[in-house]
Amino acid sequence: MSLITLGLKEAATKLKNKEISAVELTKATLDRIDERNGTINAYNVVCHDVAMKMAEESDKRIASGNAGLIEGVPIGMKDLFCTKGVSTTASSKILSNFVPPYESTVSGKLWNAGGVMMGKTNLDEFAMGSSNETSFTGKVLNPWDTTLTPGGSSGGSSAAVADFMCAGATGTDTGGSIRQPASFTGIVGIKPTYGRCSRYGIVAFASSLDQAGAMTRNVEDAALMLRAMSGHDPLDSTSASNPVEAWDETLNDFDPKGLKIGLPKEYFIEGLDPNIRKAVDDAVKRFTDAGAEVKEISLPHTKYAVPTYYIIAPAEAASNLSRYDGMRFGYRAEGENLAQTYSNSRSEGFGWEVKRRIMVGNYTLSSGYYDAYYIKAQKVRALIAQDFANAYKEVDVIFTPTAPSTAFKLGDKISDPIQMYLNDVFTVATSLAGLPGISVPAGLVEGLPVGLQIIGQAFGEEKLLQVAQAHEKMCGFQMRAPNATATAA
C-alpha cells in the first residue's frame, strides 16, 4: 500500500482504525517531499521537526480515543497563513525574515482537528498572480508537465497535492487563486462563500475578496477539510455565523434528477477553446442523462468582472500592503532619512507585480479618480452580484469552465499582465459576488487536466459539494500516478 496516495478521508479513517500510524504516514510524506520538492518547488519551508512532533501527538490522541476530524493527516499550508513560530513569507522578500507570534484561525482549526503541518507552500507574491511565477522563492512547476505552470496564486498547494506531497492543502482565493490552480493540476479546489472561513491571520491581499479554501484530490476530502476549516470567528468581523455542516457525510444524499443547471451564455462565447467547451458539455450531458435539467442563463455584467476586479483588488491591496514599511518587522533597507528608508525597503522588498498593483490601487483611490474608478467599480460589483441572484431564481447551480485554457507554459504570460489577468475571466465574478465555487477535474485535453467550475448559492456549500461529488462519480477522472512522467503533447 502506498501511503502517499491516500486521500484525506481515507487516511483519517485508516489512522483512526490504527491500520497506519501518523508517524509513518508523516515520514512517508516527508520523504516524498524531500525527493520531489527540489524539482517542483511546491514548499517554501518543509517542517520536518514540527511535522514529526505533531504526528507523535496525533498517534497519542488516536491511542486515547481522542482523534480529531483529520487526525494525523499531512497538510500543506499556503505560506500566506500565519503560523506561530514558523516562517510566513507570502513568498515575498519583504517578509522573508518574518516569524509570526500568532496563529491564523484557519490553520489553528486544522491543527486542532489533528492535521499535521508538512510545511508552507509556495505562492505568487502576496497571492498576486495566476502562474506562481511572481514568487520571491521561485516558480513552482506543474507535476503533470514541468514546463507548465501549476496555476496561481495557490500554485505551491496545487502542485503539492497533485504530486502527493500532502493529502490536502489550504489555498486562498481572491479572484480564482484556488480554482484555477486546481484546474491546472487535476485536483479539487473549493472556494467557499465569503465569510465561511475566518481571514484572521491570513496575510491580506484584498480583504473584501480573500477567502480560504481546501485543495484535495477528491470531493469528499475537500468537504471534510473545508468542514475542519470553517466557522464563525470573533476575531474576524466579516466571518459568517452560519452553522458548519458535516458536508463530507451528506455528499451522497443527492440525486441529480431534477437538478437545474444554469449555463451562462456569456461564458460560452466564440473563441472559447472547443476542447474545454467539450469537457463542460460532456459533464452537463452526464447530468442530463441522470435526469438533471439544463437551462441557458444570462449574467449580463460578466464582461465587466475582470476590470471591476482589477480596480477593487489593487485598491484594497495598496492599503493592506502599506504596513510593510520596514519599521517594525520584515525587510528593511536603511536610507539617509525616513522617506528614503521607506522607499528603499519597499522598492527592494516588493516584486514587480506587487508594485504594479500598489500603484494602480493608489491611483484609483486618489482624490479626483476615486468616484470614477473605485465607487463605479463597487456599483458594478453590486450589479454582478445581482446577476447571480437573478439567475438563482431559475437554477440551482451554475456550470462554467474554470479557466479558458489548460495549464500554460511557464514564461508565456509573465511579461503581459493583461493576458495573465484574463486567465481569471471565469472565476472573478464569483469572487466579486462572494459566492462559493469549486473546480473539479472534468477530463484531459491533450493529456492535461481541465477543470469544471460549479458555482453555488451563498452558503450553499452542501448542495455545491453534492453536485461536485455526483460529477466526480460520473466523470471517472483518473488522477496521475506518483511516478508518472511529463505527458504533455
Binding site: 497563513f81 500565519c82 510566513t88 507570502a90 517578509l95 518574518f98 509570526p100 507570534p101 500568532y102 491564523s104 481571514r199 484572521y200 491571520g201 491570513i202 496575510v203 491580506a204 484584498a206 480583504s207 473584501s208 470573533p234 476575531l235 474576524d236 468581523s237 466579516t238 485598491a315 484594497e316 495598496a318 492599503s319 500592503l321 502599506s322 504596513r323 514599511d325 519599521m327 517594525r328 518587522f329 525616513l338 521607506y342 493608489n362 483611490l365 486618489s366 482624490s367 476615486y370 473605485y374
Partner: protein
C-alpha cells in the same frame, strides 16, 4: 478712537479630539491605561502585523451615541469606518481607521454659557470615531534617533467638529469648557487636556464686520487648554488682520501653537496637504444598531449641565451665572445638591458659601472639589448652625477655616473652640451694663447725638464675648439702653 481690529469679525470653528475612557482599545483587547512602559500595551492588531484584523469595541459606540444624544444630534443608525492612508512610523498599518463620509453622529448643537450669564447655541457638524496613532519621541542628541511608543496606537477617540459659529476667543473657550463638562458628565472621556485626553484644533479666519463671505482660514493645532485656545485664536486673528491691513493675503495652511512664545507658526501649506485616499475599511462591517440601543443609552445618561442649570435656576432661584458655575462639573453639582438637600437648606446661601469660601480655599491649594476636606454633609451642618443661631455668619468663617484645615465636623469645632453664640439676653445685658458703666464719656456723646458710637459699643461687646454674642441681641439691647 476705535482700533483697526474692531472693524473685523473673527470666525472660529473647533475640532476636538476626545479620548474615550473605554478599558480596551477601539479595535483590539489591549489596555488603554495611561503611563505604562513604552510598547507594553500592544498586541499584533495594534502593531499592524500581517493578517490580523480589527474588531470594533462596542463600548466606544455607546459612548458616541451618548455624546450624540447630549449634543441633541442626529444619531446615525448606520455608519461606516474608513481607512485614512498615510505613512508615518507611529501609524503601524499605514492607515488610520476613522470615519469619513458616514459618521456615527451628524448635526447637533452645543449651548455655551458666557460670563455675562447669556447663552449661545453653537452648531456641531459631526462626531466620528477613530483610532489614535502612536507617539514618536525624537532624540536629537548624540544618537540622533527617534523612538516610537505604540501604547497609544488604537486608543479610541471621538472627533467632534463644530460649525464656524464662534465669533470671539471667549466663545471658543466656553465651547471647549462646555464640551469638556458634557463628556465628563457622561463619563465617556476624562477631559484631561494636560495629559492629552482632550485635544483641540482651531480653524480661524477673519472678515470685515458686516460682510458675509468667509475669509481664508488657517488651522492651528496643539491646543491643550481652554486658556491656550483663547490665546492662540486671539493671536491668530490679529496676525491675519495685520496681514490684510498691509494688503497681504492669508495662506490656507496648518499652524502650530507655541505656548512658550505665545505665537502660531506655519507647519505645512495647502500644497503639501495629504491625499488620504479614504475608502471604506473592508475589514469592518458598517456599524448598525436599532432604536432600542439608542433608548438604552438614553436611559443610562445622567442629568446633563443644561438641565442642571435650568433646575438650579427654576427650583432654587439662582442666577444664570451661578447656576452655570454650579453645573459645570458633575462633582460640583453633586456637592451643591448634597448641601441643599432638595431645598431643605437656603439654596442661595449654600451657593454663596460654595462659590466664594469653598472655591476660594480650594483654588489656593490647587485642589478639585472631589478633594475638598469639607464634606457636603459638614458644609450643610454648618449652614444649619448659622440658620438656627448657634453661630453667627462671621463666626462661621472661623468654623469653616477649621473645617477646611482639619476636616472636622462643624459642631465639634464650635464645641472645642467654644464658638457657640451667646443668645442669653440676661448674660449679654450684664456684660453691656459693665461696659456702659466703664465708659461714661462715650455714653454722654451718644446722648449728644453721636449715633456712630453705638457701633463702638457693639465692637466692645463682641470683643468681651470673643465675637460670640448674638449680634441681633447686642444691637437691640444697646439701642434700648443708649438711645432712650
Amino acid at each position: 478712537m476705535t482700533s483697526v481690529y474692531d472693524q473685523y469679525e473673527i470666525v472660529i470653528g473647533l475640532e476636538i479630539h476626545a479620548q474615550l475612557t473605554t478599558k480596551s482599545k477601539l479595535f483590539s483587547g489591549s489596555s488603554t491605561e495611561f503611563g505604562a512602559d513604552p510598547n507594553t500595551q500592544t498586541c499584533p492588531v495594534d502593531l499592524g502585523m500581517p493578517g490580523v484584523l480589527p474588531v470594533l469595541n462596542t463600548a466606544a459606540v455607546d459612548a458616541a451615541i451618548k455624546t450624540g444624544l447630549a449634543l441633541r444630534a442626529e444619531v446615525n443608525k448606520e455608519s461606516v469606518f474608513a481607512r485614512k492612508n498615510y505613512f508615518y512610523p507611529d501609524l503601524p498599518k499605514g492607515y488610520q481607521i476613522s470615519q469619513f463620509d458616514k459618521p456615527i453622529i451628524g448635526k447637533g448643537t452645543l449651548t455655551i454659557d458666557l460670563e455675562d450669564g447669556t447663552s449661545r447655541d453653537i452648531g456641531v457638524t459631526r462626531l466620528h470615531l477613530e483610532e489614535d496613532a502612536g507617539k514618536s519621541v525624537h532624540d536629537f542628541g548624540a544618537d540622533n534617533v527617534s523612538h516610537v511608543d505604540l501604547n497609544r496606537a488604537g486608543i479610541p477617540l471621538m472627533e467632534i467638529v463644530s460649525e464656524p459659529d464662534m465669533r470671539t476667543p471667549e466663545e471658543a473657550g466656553a465651547y471647549v469648557r462646555k464640551m469638556r463638562a458634557i463628556v465628563r458628565f457622561l463619563g465617556v472621556c476624562d477631559g484631561n487636556m494636560e495629559q492629552g485626553s482632550m485635544r483641540c484644533d482651531a480653524n480661524v479666519s477673519v472678515r470685515k464686520k458686516g460682510t458675509t463671505e468667509f475669509g481664508t482660514r488657517t488651522e492651528t493645532k496643539n491646543l491643550n487648554s481652554a486658556r491656550n485656545i483663547q490665546r492662540a485664536i486671539a493671536y491668530e486673528a490679529m496676525r491675519q488682520i495685520d496681514i490684510l491691513e498691509e494688503g497681504g493675503e492669508i495662506v490656507q495652511e496648518t499652524r502650530l501653537w507655541d505656548a512658550q512664545k505665545n505665537v502660531t507658526r506655519s507647519m505645512r501649506g495647502k500644497e503639501n496637504a495629504h491625499d488620504y485616499r479614504y475608502f471604506p475599511c473592508p475589514d469592518l462591517l458598517p456599524v448598525r444598531f436599532d432604536d432600542a440601543r439608542i433608548e438604552r443609552n438614553k436611559q443610562e445618561m445622567p442629568e446633563l449641565p443644561d438641565a442642571l442649570k435650568e433646575r438650579f435656576m427654576n427650583d432654587y432661584g439662582l442666577s444664570a451665572y451661578d447656576a452655570s458655575v454650579l453645573s459645570s462639573s458633575r462633582a460640583t453639582s453633586d456637592y451643591y445638591d448634597a448641601v441643599v438637600e432638595g431645598g431643605k437648606r437656603d439654596a442661595k446661601i449654600a451657593a454663596n458659601w460654595i462659590m466664594v469660601e469653598l472655591f476660594g480655599a480650594l483654588n489656593k491649594q490647587g485642589k478639585d472639589i472631589e478633594e475638598s476636606p469639607v464634606s457636603p454633609e459638614n458644609m450643610g451642618k454648618m449652614l444649619d448652625l448659622i440658620a438656627d443661631g448657634t453661630i453667627s455668619g462671621k463666626i462661621a468663617k472661623t468654623v469653616f477655616e477649621e473645617m477646611f484645615d482639619n476636616g472636622k465636623d462643624p459642631e465639634a469645632v464650635v464645641e472645642e473652640k467654644g464658638l457657640k453664640q451667646i443668645s442669653d439676653e440676661g448674660a449679654i445685658e450684664k456684660i453691656i451694663d459693665d461696659i456702659i458703666a466703664a465708659n461714661p464719656k462715650q455714653v454722654e456723646q451718644i446722648k449728644n447725638g453721636n449715633d456712630k458710637l453705638i457701633g463702638w459699643f457693639v465692637g466692645q461687646t463682641m470683643q468681651a464675648t470673643k465675637g460670640k454674642a448674638n449680634p441681633g441681641i447686642v444691637n437691640k439691647l444697646l439701642n434700648t439702653k443708649l438711645r432712650s
